[in-house]
């Protein structure tokens, strides 16, 4: 029996991406290809453009030039944002007057593709209690971060974008998140993570990139050393 050769297509393709904000070029001619079942790590100092790149891939900002294809669909033309996306972007919160579960239930009701049990499972997987009556306003920073991760993975998205996922987490939390990411990768998601913690990048990433002054550089094993 002949085996059909399956053409490997990039699942996420960024071509010539640039973004100018207030006359400052924050992203400069970014080219990037990503496949399912891999973790892509991005590091760089503050202001290097990591978060801007993530926002562009998520459809939160419109490129000044360039194109982004998400699983064959052009962002800004075929789709406004990736159809199956889980993300954490820094400084984003939830509704302070509701519990963690209530917040995630509201978000899950938008697409309505998962059940309450799956929401609770996602909350448990990040080490929180889904039945906790504490409202989000009273969460610690670590709890907020965990809830954000639960929110990002609960619908089992095809693309997961995590900006500083281990911020404010203790060692147990960091270990938990790393295991979650490896599991999601094995499930076949495309995962983008940005971190100041070089250890996260080195331990988790299948491919590593460095951002500096809006430009993207691929880091080979030789360069990394």
């Amino acid at each position: 029996m002949r085996k059909r050769r399956r053409k490997q297509l990039e699942d996420i393709k960024v071509t010539g991406l640039s973004k100018v904000i207030k006359e400052k070029e924050v992203l400069k001619d970014i080219n990037l290809s990503m496949e399912r079942g891999k973790i892509y790590g991005f590091y760089g100092r503050n202001g290097s453009g990591k978060t801007m790149l993530f926002r562009a891939v998520c459809g939160l900002i419109k490129p000044t030039s360039g194109e982004i294809y998400i699983f064959g669909k052009k962002l800004g033309k075929d789709i406004s944002f990736p159809e199956s996306l889980g993300l954490i972007i820094e400084s984003v919160g939830f509704w302070p007057q509701y519990t963690g579960f209530q917040n995630l239930k509201f978000l899950a009701s938008i697409k309505n593709i998962i059940s309450d049990d799956e929401i609770k499972e996602a909350i448990r997987s990040v080490g929180l209690d889904p039945d906790d009556k504490k409202i989000y306003k009273k969460y610690s920073l670590g709890m907020k971060q965990r809830l954000g991760i639960a929110q990002a993975i609960m619908e089992k998205p095809d693309l997961i974008v995590l900006d500083e996922p281990t911020n404010a987490l203790d060692s147990e939390g960091v270990s938990l998140v790393r295991n979650i990411l490896l599991k999601e990768r094995d499930r076949g998601a495309v995962i983008m993570i940005a971190s100041h913690n070089r250890e996260d990048i080195d331990l988790l990433s299948d491919e590593k990139y460095m951002m500096d002054n809006g430009r993207l550089y691929k880091v080979s094993e030789e360069n990394a050393k």
Binding site: I21, V26, M52, L60, I61, F81, L85, V92, G93, L107
Partner: protein
Amino acid sequence: MKSYIVKIFAGASVSIIIAMNALNFLKLENIDSLEYMYIISYGGLFTFDIEHNIFGFFKILVPHILLIYLLAYYMYNDFKICSVYVFTRSNKRKHWFIKKYFSLLFITAVYYFVQFLIVFLIGTIYKFRPESIKLFTLIVTTDFILLTLTGFLLVISTNLLSFKLGTNFAYLSLIIADGAMIMLPAALHGVLDNLIIKLLPTSNGMLIWHSDNFLRLFSQKLGFEFIEGFSVLFSIIYILILLAAIFFIGIRFIENLDVINEEKEA
């Protein structure tokens, strides 16, 4: 929304001062009519020239300052939360804006309703009565509509501007613009048949500047100035047109807005 409604009730204290001031004035004039109570409290400036009517100027401005202060962050605060987690699950920016637009209108209406209710209660306690139910209803309804629409215009403009300028700057800008629009008629009175005055949004909220027949009686009795040919209907239609324009501009603006945290990422 509940917390905003609570704040509005708390902020209604300014209407007590306005109502008591109206009460004192009318008692000196030996008038005990509720229609006059509303005309004095929320009818607008008696004269275009505020130099001789500083209290009147602040009587118009302070409720605007309070209204914008209470609601300046309404859209921006919710957008900060919704913009990432909600809008990346569905293309709901337009629906979100429409919902916020009309709920802001509702809250503005509640704001003026509470103030009008306080005037009514104070007037009733001091045994003021309507001279004519029909006239009373006409005065209160038209005044309420004009103030709600012009107040909402200020509030929605502040909310949209805050996305570009930041909430504090947008708030200050609108208050300064509002104050200027209240003062400008003094300089523009008589110019181009008062056309510019008619087109200033704040002017359209001044009930007693209108020349409708049901208002002329009050003008004769109290001696305030009005603009010939300036009808309440014109004002309502004009402000609704401005609000419709802002509505469509707002939808387009929100749909194309880059979602960034400028404090951290600029």
